[in-house]
Symmetry: C2
Subunit: 237 residues, 2 copies
């Protein structure tokens, strides 16, 4: 079957058209006040088919988001190496998904803010991303259990992403360049924290400040040896 494209014919209301109509109704009349019958009447799709195609009233609002999530997951599965960079790119993809569809994402943001139930739904979505990122970061060769570091890194990244995303959602009219700039900044911020975390066993750099005081004439080799020993001790067992 061919995609009907963007045409708004009477033929078969596309998923996107239904979502847009529903979003409009939700923002005009409120989420609770809008019944499935209203949406059915507005879209020409029967109430029964709406439930069949979307699952629930909430799912209409988050249909596009679910698609985005699948896209991101597929992207991650296709990314072979350098997991940290892959995850950062995935987060970039998520932000791009939001920015690229303001007609849905922006009013949805305001609906979500107003209604606790929808807020929980949105939060659950970000948790799904976080879980996917965490799983991706954790499944590395090497016997040790990296799940703690992976989880923390994923949580940090998601938090930074949401920080930037909220900033844009509050003022969607702002320049996209600024948004991407602050995203890059936030990601760099997280990278500084996460990078040493995931390589914790091999490299020094646990945020220690080492002050070594030795007699001025100490041999360089000897000094380096002692400093190295001190660092290893500071890193712990």
């Amino acid at each position: 079957m061919e995609r009907s494209g963007g045409r708004s014919g009477q033929t078969r209301a596309d998923t996107r058209e239904v979502v847009l109509a529903a979003v409009r109704l939700f923002t005009e009349s409120g989420f609770d006040a809008t019944t499935m019958d209203h949406i059915a009447a507005a879209t020409g799709v029967s109430r029964r088919s709406l439930f069949r195609r979307f699952g629930s009233k909430e799912d209409i609002l988050f249909a596009e988001h679910d698609e985005l999530f699948s896209t991101v997951v597929r992207f991650l599965e296709a990314s072979p190496d350098d997991p940290l960079s892959s995850v950062f790119s995935a987060a970039r993809l998520v932000l791009q998904g939001y920015l690229g569809d303001p007609e849905i994402t922006v009013p949805r943001y305001h609906l979500v803010r107003a209604h606790p139930r929808l807020r929980d739904r949105e939060v659950a979505m970000t948790a799904r991303y976080q879980a996917a990122f965490s799983r991706y970061l954790a499944r590395r060769e090497g016997g040790e259990d990296r799940s703690l570091a992976a989880g923390v890194a994923a949580a940090s990244l998601i938090s930074a992403h949401n920080h930037v995303l909220r900033g844009w959602l509050r003022r969607p009219e702002q320049d996209r360049g600024e948004v991407w700039a602050s995203f890059d900044e936030a990601v760099a911020f997280v990278r500084r924290a996460a990078e040493p975390m995931l390589h914790a066993e091999r490299e020094p750099g646990h945020d220690h400040v080492l002050v070594a005081v030795y007699p001025g004439g100490t041999d360089r080799e000897e000094l380096l040896r002692r400093v190295g020993a001190a660092v290893r001790e500071a890193e712990g067992p």
Copy 2:
């Protein structure tokens, strides 16, 4: 009004008794298959009063959790200074809340795992903690916007907490000492990453290793001053 204590009289089914009965029904018959009428019949509380007292069927399962959340928020509000340590203590309080009530938290964990809807609810709870922690960490004097660092730190802590919590929930019979040990470890892990984040502008700790070599007889004050200056130079732009 006096608390009825632990008595299981006919008088007035306590909140906790209702929750326990509901949890039992949920695990026996499944969450969906258990209707509010069943819970009403099992507890002696009318269906109408159940809705009045708990709000919804899900809320019965999470009633104790809501209480814990209020406790933690009150604790945070009463904590004046050293915000990072306060937040860590708050996380400890949350874990304690879980460990202290396995009769509810453990079966709830299995219910949550099985049912996506309940999982979303659980995720929403942790998001509430995260938001509370983040707000608490961000509301510091100083004009700069610390919300990114605060959000990332809160997310990291919550992630670490959940990491430990899940470990216990999967094997609740394990020694409590081990649980607390792994919690301390996880918190220390997060602290190493979060501490420099929140004091990025003021204190050293950007993963530099400073080696200062001075004559053995140097005055302590002088030495500290020079080290401080070197650190500031290394940090700053």
